[in-house]
Each structure stands twice: as structure tokens, then as C-alpha cells.
Amino acid sequence: MALPLVGLCAWCRRALVSRTASRLTVVRGSARSPAAAAAATAAARDGRSKSKWMGVVGLEVHAQLCSNSKLFSGSRVQFSAPPNALVSFLDASLPGTLPVLNKHCVEAAVMTGLALNCTINKKSMFDRKHYFYADLPVGYQITQQRCPIAINGNLAYSLYVGKNRNHMMPKLVRIQQIQLEQDSGRSLHDDARTQTLIDLNRAGIGLMEIVMEPDMCCGDEAAAAVRELQLILQTLGTCHGNMAEGQLRVDANVSVHQRGRPYGVRAEVKNINSPRFLARAIDYEIQRQIDILENGGKILNETRAFDYKTGQTISMRDKEGKQDYRFMPEPNLPPLTIYDNETLSSNVNPQQVVNIDHIRELLPELPDAKRKRLVKKYGILAEHTFTLVNEDGLVQFFETVLDQTEANPKKVIGWILNDFLALLKQNNLSVNQSPITPSALAELLTLLEKGFISSSAAKQVFVELWKGEGKSAVQIVEQKKLGLIQDHRKLEQICQRVIEDHPSEISEIQQGNWKVLNKLIGQVQRATHGRAAPTVVKFILEKKLS
């Protein structure tokens, strides 16, 4: 009998089983263990259908393009500005205006398509999507539905799985298409006076809609995919990817079905402000749909909003059947032609040309490639590379430190991730704003490597360096007398004195109880104010006592 939970990722299996069956033992580790099989059959006997549900999640991501001007008009793109100040006649949908396509937006879309391994359509067409809403004054949105600019790509991301979430599993989600479209304006609802205030500054800004296939099965996968997409877009420079500011908007289409059965009715979840809330919203929605279906109800094809305070999704409006957008080709825009080196002919104006091969050469190093390179070059763990690449500028800091010191990369990464990053986060600073320069840290680590200071002393020096008073590591060590005593004879003298001061411990050691040696080492440390290297002290004491 096939295990009913096999279709889900390991973490989902654990989550669903632990949530839905309180009487069962919690399944740990791989579902193929005998304990899991027993638990699964027990579940099959009790609430058999509960463990068979599989969540299906597809994402629609709208990424606001980072350009100076809007997609079809020449108004500025700026986050905050006086209301309706950045609006041209086309954005206000005044009659007699025509759209003119922005070349930079096309290049950005092609670059994103190449980074996501998509096929770029050399001829793509624009359509009108009609619907009535106050923030869309013209009544339609120019988008690309029939023939978008890029199709059939994939996004590779990694997910923390396992008991302690320390094992990285690589995953892939297919990208159905990437299309260029216009943003709508912003509406502020004033319920007190039952009116809506409309601000068209945002209307007409170029958006890339990235439609993903429903390959994901739970909130964690979706959150990891979105984080990876954010990193890629930020690396390319096509989008800032800030979900809280609305530059990256994610809508999740969630449904559940039983293995082998057709997909269930899906509900769309909107109003999500961060990857973490995305995971919570999707998990809540999957659980809600399972509960409804378990009780014999039906899922409505509706749009739900996520309320982050309660962690629940609330029905926004009833989609009366499927919304019919009456797509029609945009008559004012001929098809968009994109060239590559083979199809480019000399009689085309070079200023008008978007060349795929040229843009491919301009692609920067993507996060995934960067991580692989770090692992290969420095031998650090993959999990650490994730933290490194996530933080803007941290990789460069790390590499600069490594250039200037001969310390082991693994030790350096420990300092960077545990000490440096922790202090940055505590003080809410970015890497560029750090008071410690890479060379200062490199100097400190060199001192540590060469044995001039102990690691606890190094941490004290680090905290001093953070104060940013301009002193170097060497100066701090001298001032605070943190350097290890290098003089062997002095150490031997101190050890001798400690041995003479503790005769009872000596007799115990001579009887064979070597654990008391640690107490003696502690005494030596106290006498030297922590300036003795523990290994050297142990060596001297052992030599003296044996």
C-alpha cells in the first residue's frame, strides 16, 4: 500500500500529521521508518481521509520594475510624492493619448526572463484586460496575455527540512510566464464619508507578472521560493523586491486535493506583506479547506484577504462565477520584436533594438552561482552561504577579510555570522554602516591565529573595536593588556607557585585523579588575569606533575 503522505515534503507531512491527529504518535524523521508506517495505518483507521490531503499552491507575483519613468508614459516613478503629482495625461486616461513603450522596462523583463531560465518570445503582443474599478480610470489594463515576453522557466530554491531544520533540500518551481503590464492607481477608502480617494501616482508603473505553476505544496516552500525570487530580482537590479512597500506583491492560489484525484477548487489569498505572513496564510488556508472538506462542505472559488493580526484569511468578495475580463488585442501597440545576434539585421536602428544575447552578457552573478562558488572556493557549509548571500554586502566583506588574513575560512565565517552579524542586527545596521572595517577584523583574526591572544580576549577586543574609536586591534590589546604571556619561563614560575599553593590538589593528582588539574589551570588563569593560553598551561602543569 502506498503511504498516503508521500506526495508532500517531509516538513509538511510532519506538520499535517501532528496537527490533525493528536492521538497518534508524532512522526519523526523519514516517513519510511516503521514508526511512521504504523502511525500512518493508525491514521488510516481513525481519520483516514485526514492524512491524504495534499495542498497545492501556485503563486502570482507582481514585481514593480525599477525604472525612471513609467511603462507607457514619461512620468516619474517614485515611492512617495504629493498625490497626483506624477501623473501624465495618459495615466489620467484623458482622450487623445497613446501609450509609448519604455525600452528599459523591456530590457528588465528580458533580463529577469534569462535569469529564470525562460524562453524569450521574439514576438510578443499586448492585450487589454477590461474591468471597472475607480483606480483604473481608463477601464482596462494593458497586459500581455496571449503572447507574453517570456515563458517556460524555472526557479531553483532551497528549503530547510529535517528535525532541526538544518538540512537543505533543493527544489524547483516552474514558471509559466513572465509578462509586462501596467499598475493601477491607489485607492484610499474613506468609510466615514462613504467615498474613495484616488491617487494615480502609481497608475501606469511597469509591473512584471511572474506566474508560477502550482508545484508547491505548503507555506514554507512558497516563502522560500519568494525569498529566492526577491534575492534574484535585487541582484539583477530590476526590482527592489520590498514586499512591505508594495514593490513585490504575491497572491497565492491555494487548493487541496486527495492523491490521485483531480485538483480541488482554489481560493486566492491576497494582502500579504512578507514571506513569513505568506507561509502562515497558506498554511491557514490549507487547513481551513481541509476542515471544510472533512465536514462535507464545498470550497468556493473566491478571493480572501489575509489578516496578519489574527492569522486568518477572510473572504473579500464573492466572485460571481469567474470574472470575465473580455481580453482584446491592444490596437495601439504593434507586436514587440526582440532580437538576438542571429536575427539582428543592420538596417534596424540600434537605439530601438533589445538584443537578448547582449543582455545575457550583462547578467550579474546570480545568488545560486555565488553560493556554489563560495562553497567551492572556501569550503564553508552551504547553510552558511545562504546567510551570507542574504545580507547585502556581506559576501564582499567576508572576501575582503579573507584576503587580508591567513585565518581559516571556517573560523572567519564563524566570526562573521555569529559575532559580526549579531551586532549588526542588534543595532539595526547594514553592512555598509558597520563601524568595523574588514581590515580591522582581519587584523584581529590574524592576532588570534598567530596565538597572540586567546579567543575570549579576542571577543573583548571585538566589542572594543565596535565602539569605533579608531583604535586598531593591536592598540587595544596593548592598552588592555589582553595579550597572552609569551614568556615561557614566567608561565613556569606562575605554575610552580600555584603548585606550591595547593598541596592537597597535588596529592590527589598524584593519586591518579587528573580532573583536579582543571582547578589548577583555573588558578593559573586567575593569577595571570586570563593571559595564559590554557593548552600551554596544561602542558606545563602536566610536565611538572608527572
Binding site: N68, R76, F89, L101, P329, Q352
Partner: protein
């Protein structure tokens, strides 16, 4: 000073090309008789051979209409009301279209009307409007008689032209006052709109709704 040319009125056997009479200095030219408005354009028209259909219908030539007769030209020898069109005429002289066989009358249901009214915010008002819609659909359905096998659909007459790509510079905007000047209601530089997505009334309420609307 506009010049009005007169032509001497002659008898029925007049020559067909009137010539302007030499003017005596100081004399003015007066249109002769009621209804004979002579003007430069009329004179020019007299020199243009008229197609048969547009030419003045043959009527008894009297003193007044003598010079309205047919001017000389390549068609001067043609008898009235006969023969193929002259070589220069692009207008077909007889109907050249065949009627398309009438398709069955399209079925326009109330659900479809409801749906369309919600989507496009139009109002068909009454049965006559719906019948007109059905007529229009039937008229357009005649296009199905054309064989489009193997022909790529055209979405824009501009399909051969390259799409112009604009450089990414800021050239417009900062005209909030002009943008807001046409709006009926404005609050602190925001447009005012009614609260969003008020659902349309259901069909039963709609008839009474229409009666009270002031359209």
C-alpha cells in the same frame, strides 16, 4: 472682387461650349433670371464630363437651361441610358455583391444580457434593444462565410511596423492642477470616487431601478 461670368442665352440649338462674352469696361455682370445662379464653380462643372447617373436628366431644352446641357467629351456620342460604364469610372455600374445565406437568428438569453450588462455597464433597456442586439450579431455573423483557412489573424493594422521604444527618461508629470481640473469632486488633490464595487441590483429590482434612474 468676385467675377461672375455670364453666358449668352441662346436657343435650343445652341452650341455646347459657351464662351465668355468680352466685358465692356465698367459694366457689371448680373445673373440673368431667377434660378440661374452662375458661378465660377458652375462654369468649371460644365467642363467636367458628368457620369451618366449624375448628369442632369434629359428634359426639354428651354432658353434657361440650354447651357446646362451635356458638354462635349469622349462620351458626347453616347446615347442616353445605355451601355457599359466608361473606362475611367471606378464605381460599378451594376450591383456586384451576392447576398450571404442567412444564418439562423442568434439566441440571446436573459442570462447573457444580464452578464453583458454587468461586465460592460451598458443598459439594453427593453425588448427592442435586445432585438437590435440580436440583429447586429446576425449581421456580423455573415463574416463566418469567409474562408480563413491558413490565414494568420491580424490584431493590428500596424503589424508590419516596428514598435517604437522610448528611452527611460522623465518627460511628463507635475501637472496635478491640470489633471484635477476636470474632476467634479476633489479633496486635497485626490480624486473622489464613490465607494468601490457596489454590486449591481438583481434583475427583479433592476426594472424599478431603471424607472427611477434619470437617464
Amino acid at each position: 472682387m468676385s467675377v461672375i461670368i455670364t453666358a449668352r442665352i441662346q436657343g435650343p440649338s445652341c452650341s455646347l461650349s459657351p464662351r465668355p462674352q468680352p466685358l465692356e469696361p465698367g459694366s457689371c455682370l448680373i445673373p440673368l433670371g431667377p434660378g440661374t445662379m452662375w458661378s465660377f464653380t458652375r462654369r468649371a462643372a460644365l467642363w467636367v464630363p458628368l457620369p451618366r447617373r449624375l448628369s442632369p436628366s434629359p428634359r426639354p431644352r428651354n432658353a434657361r437651361t440650354a447651357v446646362c446641357g451635356r458638354p462635349p467629351g469622349p462620351s458626347s456620342g453616347r446615347p442616353e441610358g445605355a451601355g457599359p460604364a466608361p473606362a475611367w469610372s471606378k464605381v460599378p455600374q451594376s450591383p456586384s455583391w451576392q447576398p450571404v445565406e442567412v444564418c439562423e437568428f442568434p439566441e440571446v438569453t436573459m442570462e447573457m444580457i444580464d452578464h453583458l450588462e454587468r461586465l460592460a455597464l451598458v443598459d439594453f433597456r427593453n425588448q427592442e434593444g435586445i432585438e437590435r442586439l440580436a440583429d447586429a450579431i446576425q449581421f456580423a455573423n455573415q463574416l463566418h462565410a469567409v474562408d480563413t483557412e491558413g490565414v494568420e489573424p491580424m490584431d493590428s493594422v500596424l503589424e508590419d511596423r516596428p514598435l517604437y521604444l522610448r528611452e527611460d527618461t522623465v518627460t511628463e508629470g507635475y501637472c496635478a492642477e491640470a489633471i484635477l481640473s476636470n474632476a467634479k469632486q476633489v479633496v486635497e488633490e485626490y480624486f473622489i470616487a464613490p465607494p468601490g464595487n457596489i454590486p449591481l441590483p438583481k434583475k427583479e429590482e433592476r426594472d424599478s431601478f431603471l424607472q427611477h434612474s434619470n437617464r
